[in-house]
């Protein structure tokens, strides 16, 4: 499984998001390495099609695909299962994306 983690230093939730990703991957038995990419400028954000920190791609697919992507060096808002907005993706969101990718790959 190809797992990529994009983040900006400006958004303090990235450490916790990476930790959460590692935890869920461990629980799902995924031992692949995570490619961690730091995005430092608006130019990089455009080039990498970065829609905000943190962004997690599993096999090239965003764990929460945006409907109207806007590339910018910004922090990302996730809408959680209970409707709240959070700067962190939920474990459920990550787990669903991992399971979907695993099912497609098998």
């Amino acid at each position: 499984m190809k797992v990529r983690f994009f983040y900006s230093e400006d958004c303090p939730s990235h450490d916790e998001a990476l930790e959460r990703l590692r935890k869920v991957m461990g629980e799902e038995g995924i031992r692949d390495e995570i490619e961690v990419v730091r995005v430092d400028s608006s130019e990089d954000a455009e080039k990498l099609k970065f829609i905000g920190s943190p962004t997690l791609l599993i096999n090239g697919r965003d764990i929460d695909p945006p409907t109207n992507p806007y590339y910018a060096l910004t922090c990302r808002a996730y809408r959680l299962e209970d409707g709240r907005i959070s700067p962190l993706p939920s474990e459920t969101m990550i787990r669903k994306a991992i399971r979907k990718a695993a099912a497609e790959g098998s």
Binding site: D10, P12, S13, T74, C75, S86
Partner: protein, 177 residues
């Protein structure tokens, strides 16, 4: 790093609000406390905390406490932070406090604000009493252990010393022009 230190006086401002009125620091003199919160529309940390801000204003309005949110972000790079979008957000979330636009970013620079949200809580004499985050958990309101702003308000209102007068503001960086 904030330009104001605990014990410093509030820096005056005169800014347009989403209610199309101009709001200044002077109008809050005489209140028991004023929380100036640098905020914005687009930042997920603000969005995670804004219901709590509304609740704090509701809970403390009767005690003479006023919250004021100020958005200084560059809206050319972050169009969600434009004044019309601020008006929309205020209506949508039913903000019960003034939401002001600092277009020139002079007020944010004067205060030395770095993040959104970032709280500067002043007492009745407009002296800085607390600076920092609203609480210790942006992700989950039910998992908050330290209610920094509420604690500061309670201590200030009861005249007790504050155990935590400064915390690290957690959020997006202010988007400078």
């Amino acid at each position: 790093m904030a330009n104001l230190k605990i014990g410093d006086k509030a820096i005056s401002f005169k800014l347009p609000g989403v209610d199309d009125k101009v709001h200044s620091l002077d109008e809050y003199a005489g209140k028991n406390g004023l929380a100036v919160i640098f905020s914005c529309n687009h930042c997920p940390y603000v969005r995670a905390w804004e219901d709590r801000m509304v609740q704090i204003q509701a809970d403390y309005a009767g005690k003479g406490i006023q919250l004021v949110a100020i958005n200084a972000n560059d809206d050319t790079k972050y169009p969600d932070d434009s004044f019309p979008k601020m008006k929309e957000r205020s209506r949508e979330k039913k903000f019960n406090y003034p939401y002001l636009r600092d277009e020139t970013q002079e007020v944010a620079r004067a205060y030395g604000a770095e993040r959104t949200p970032e709280v500067f809580l002043f007492d009745k004499g407009l002296t800085l009493h607390y600076h920092g985050a609203i609480d210790d958990n942006y992700d989950n309101p039910s998992a908050v252990k330290e209610h920094y702003l509420r604690g500061a308000l309670d201590a200030m209102l009861s005249g007790k010393p504050l155990s935590t007068s400064e915390t690290k503001p957690v959020g997006c960086t202010v988007k400078w022009k």
